[in-house]
Symmetry: C2
Subunit: 247 residues, 2 copies
């Protein structure tokens, strides 16, 4: 069984077979499926569990009173929603599915117990929380400083790298199951301008984007256009001091 979360955590540190089994056990807990556009959690709800995306894409978003919407994060397979939400009384934003999504609802106590008995896993989960914070910060740079072209290119780079970390790419191709309107809400641009920007990237022979499939024709060039530096994703086996002893 190939679990995206495990695949992702192993970008950071090596896990023992025992570690992996413990993680797998978590994800067989309560599996749920929902359709595109359905909310997983709504602003104002009291959260009571941790959600782990198993397949499909979701997003965090906020809506202003007048209807403007900002997508604050894309949630991909292997992503955890709010590891320690138990501390806060209510959600200050909503999470919804963009495609059909299957996710595991993980009991908080079970997760806490696992953390106690598997220090490497704990550390890896910390890593995943800190990376999602680093991503959130990079989005501020994206929204605040980059031009439309840089912004879209950066978003595509980030999504590609994150999907690759969970094994959801083949060569330079991956799924991109979001509408241009959703990209617009994530990049702070109008849908019309996202459209024109994508065409510009196409015309520069940087990407092919048809249907729901993205192919990057020249990754280095796309990174250059985007001013993309993957250091904020903290991949590359950082937790070297914490490798599993078992093979």
């Amino acid at each position: 069984m190939d679990i995206p979360l495990i695949r992702k955590l192993e970008q950071f540190t090596r896990l023992s077979g025992n570690d992996k089994r413990a993680l797998e056990d978590l994800t067989v807990d309560r599996i749920r499926k929902i359709g595109p556009r359905d909310n997983i959690i709504h602003e104002g709800d009291k959260p009571d569990a941790v959600y782990l995306i198993l397949s499909g894409w979701g997003c965090r978003y906020k809506t202003l009173e007048d209807g403007r919407r900002q997508v604050m994060a894309f949630l991909l397979p292997g992503d955890l929603c709010d590891l320690n939400i138990f501390v806060l009384r209510e959600m200050d934003h909503s999470i919804c599915a963009l495609t059909a999504v299957t996710y595991a609802e993980i009991d908080g106590e079970a997760l806490a117990a696992l953390a106690l008995s598997h220090p490497r896993v704990t550390r890896a989960l910390w890593w995943e929380a800190l990376v999602s914070l680093a991503i959130q910060r990079e989005w501020s740079v994206n929204l605040g400083q980059r031009t439309a072209t840089e912004r879209i290119a950066h978003l595509l780079c980030e999504l590609f790298f994150r999907l690759r970390a969970v094994g959801l790419t083949t060569d330079l191709t991956c799924d991109l199951p979001v509408t241009q309107a959703e990209l617009a809400d994530a990049s702070g641009l109008s849908a019309v301008h996202v459209n024109r920007t994508i065409q510009e990237l196409r015309a520069a022979d940087l990407i092919v984007l048809r249907g729901r499939t993205l192919t990057i024709l020249d990754l280095e060039a796309l990174k250059t256009v985007a001013l993309f530096n993957p250091n904020y994703l903290h991949l590359n086996r950082e937790g070297g001091g914490f490798d599993a002893n078992e093979p």
Copy 2:
């Protein structure tokens, strides 16, 4: 002694005298002072301690290759820098002082030991980390969706609420020791436009901003202009179930 961090954490939960003493002990560790514009940590550094701002303002920022700069967060007295930075190999951004700053360099082990012996404190520190994540998300909304006027008004509201939580306001007045250029870097606008926007807020009798002092003339009106909803700051004594038993 009035420590901003304690004051802030008590917005969330009540702490016992014992809890507070333990926190105070941390902050007498190594106290450092630095001047405006000095870096506390630079991108690429390997972080080795947690920093707690005692007085003065700092900021997190990133600089793009061509010089564009984004301020991703303002660090106010009582703010902790990267609670669990121990997991990551190197900083993906820099932190610098905006004014003269005094901060405590807290030893990681000491903090870990405190966490074990004081569960309420642990929970309160969790709350502070989650709030800073929520703030980071709200900044995405600010940068992505709000107009210049809304953006500046929102930033002022946020800073005012955060300063009030650490007791650094008197009525509707507080310090605002940042230049318009720094506000520009934080709001993704040009310095010129920040200037005009501030004048607009002044002309609408919403604020007085002279020297380094901000006075809000009509907080409700400013909140309305900003589309500001303080829920993301998670104040209001949420950790009710975790109040200290001692008086």
